[in-house]
Symmetry: C2
């Protein structure tokens, strides 16, 4: 198996820099759109054969060093009993969590019973990939999931989730506890099914001030990280706009911290220290640059990151209008320049 | 006149820490909603008597140390010839700028002819306030205004503006040039009408990587800052999610750099150095905290900022559901604790 990604996550030497792309199984790929046309987004998540197929697609087309299981962070929220609608405009949760009673109503589900289709998709993806590259499992971080649950969808000011934190902190902590209790066995199930590394997505973690992050996010993320590491897999912790929270990210104990494009990787490394690997951090829109400029940016990131403990990725998900050839060129460029920098 | 704000902007000693609140003239105030009910948002901006009145309202109710002229950053964009619709859901620009020809069509307006109502509102606000506190003039930064112009409104991924930067950089620079040529005389007009300090709002500046900020934003913001400083007024430069861009913010030459709540002020000061004043940085949603906790957060910010060169503010605009009494308590607390910390 190509184990570059697993080796880089553990800061072991690799022949070149491993690369995968957030949302690599997605709408920018015609072969994804073809399968997606047959069903809904949630239908695709819940049909293991189709989910496994779209999981494998970017490995075939782009030559990335890992496959991330096709799913959605909100699958766990639905399994807790909160109705979920996913469409191309983003998620909508028609019965948002606002009160202590709303939190009481949420269940801590048995992952096999309620999310077994994710495990099955991982098993089928592993078979389909025939051990060519590792499979990444994932979940959302408690704060980010809670933000969706309380806001009822995306948000601009995160006023509802923050009001919950500030006005009803005990209720908020009970919500985070239930989420954490759901997510740990959910990720462990993914590992048992064959995921060789897991990523915790804290997309909205950067909305919190350092003190609020320490109170409402760090303890829960740390628990997830440590419980998963105990199963033997490395853990990636990723968020956006979190550059001022890197000391706290380090304290989660994650093997790898994902960086967005707002910070240069060498600056991030200064805060994270030598024991943490980094993932990132090209601006997803840089895939619209002319090839020669894209190549210069890739090389700059490789130079700043150094050869050890770096997983190349975008700073956030690839966008639907991206040309798949540009994504392919990115992967080829990372592999070529990463190898050149090791000579 | 209460000149605390002007003195703090120049890092001169003050008896206590000055405070104002972004969007302090806004929907959370019943007396604002009463006037707003009489006209549209743009109608309010363009009726000097009404604009002056809502400008003065928060000074009367909250006791803030400055009044910011009631207007909108997109007034300048409309004056350049781009149709603008403003409603409570946010701005909508039905004819977004996408091509070289679209940029050609934009004018560099005479500010007195096209935005004279802003100058008149400032004159009337000055009269209404009777020199009790200074009036803040403002504009949007070229990148942030261009983002609205190209996206046609708010955005999540800023894909259209970034594609313009990456695919047609010359067109982007021509757009930024036209914006800068519009904004400098526009702000100078505001100063001539009586604004004693100005703020440049770069709300989306933090969407850029450090290298793109240096190419597409810094040169234009610097030019605005220096031209305005030449008129004798201090300049505040504010953005969100810009904590990793503080070295670049410093290079704009602004007297004051605004910080959001994502970074502790003392950490920001370490990067900005002793010659730059800071503004901020309470999370706007912290106004929903119980009073005793709000007070603890205010005191922590005052402690971290130190007594010299700090203007207290929120890290972004106050939200409509905020209780005006909470805003009033904030102002009172800043003044009381700021004075206590100087004893």
């Amino acid at each position: 198996m190509n184990d570059r990604l697993l080796r880089a996550a553990r800061r072991q030497p690799t022949d070149t820099t491993p690369v995968w792309i957030m949302r690599q199984a997605g709408r920018y790929l015609p072969e994804y759109r073809e399968i997606r046309a047959k069903t809904t987004f949630l239908g695709l998540c819940k049909t293991p054969d189709l989910a496994a197929e779209v999981t494998a697609q970017p490995v075939r087309r782009l030559g990335v060093d890992a496959a991330i299981i096709f799913s959605d962070i909100l699958i766990a929220v639905e399994a807790m009993g909160l109705p979920l609608e996913l469409n191309d405009k983003g998620p909508h949760l028609p019965s948002p969590v606002r009160s202590s009673a709303d939190v009481d109503k949420l269940s801590v589900p048995d992952p096999e019973l309620s999310m077994g289709f994710v495990a099955e998709a991982i098993r089928r993806a592993r078979k389909l990939l025939d051990d060519s590259v590792p499979v990444i499992g994932f979940c959302g971080a408690p704060f980010t999931l809670a933000a969706y649950m309380v806001e009822g969808g995306g948000s601009k000011s995160y006023i509802d989730i923050k009001r919950l934190l500030f006005e009803q902190p005990k209720v908020a902590h009970r919500l985070f506890e239930k989420l954490t209790a759901t997510l740990i066995p959910y990720l462990k199930m993914q590992v048992a099914a064959g995921a060789q590394i897991v990523q915790v997505f804290d997309s909205w973690g950067g909305e919190l001030s350092p003190r609020d992050f320490e109170t409402f996010s760090l303890p829960y993320v740390s628990r997830i990280v440590h419980e998963l590491q105990a199963t033997g897999v490395p853990v990636i912790y990723f968020g956006t706009s979190m550059s001022t929270l890197l000391p706290q990210c380090k304290r989660t104990g994650a093997d790898v911290v994902g960086l967005d494009w707002r910070i240069e990787i060498d600056e991030g490394r200064k805060v994270l220290g030598p024991d943490v690997a980094v993932q990132g951090n090209l601006d997803p829109i840089a895939l619209f640059l002319p090839r020669v400029e894209l190549e210069a940016r890739v090389d700059d990131i490789l130079r700043r990151a150094g050869p050890l403990g770096h997983i190349f990725n975008l700073g956030h998900g690839i966008t639907p209008p991206t040309d798949p050839d540009s994504a392919k060129a990115l992967v080829e460029t990372v592999h070529r320049l990463g190898a050149a920098r090791r000579r």
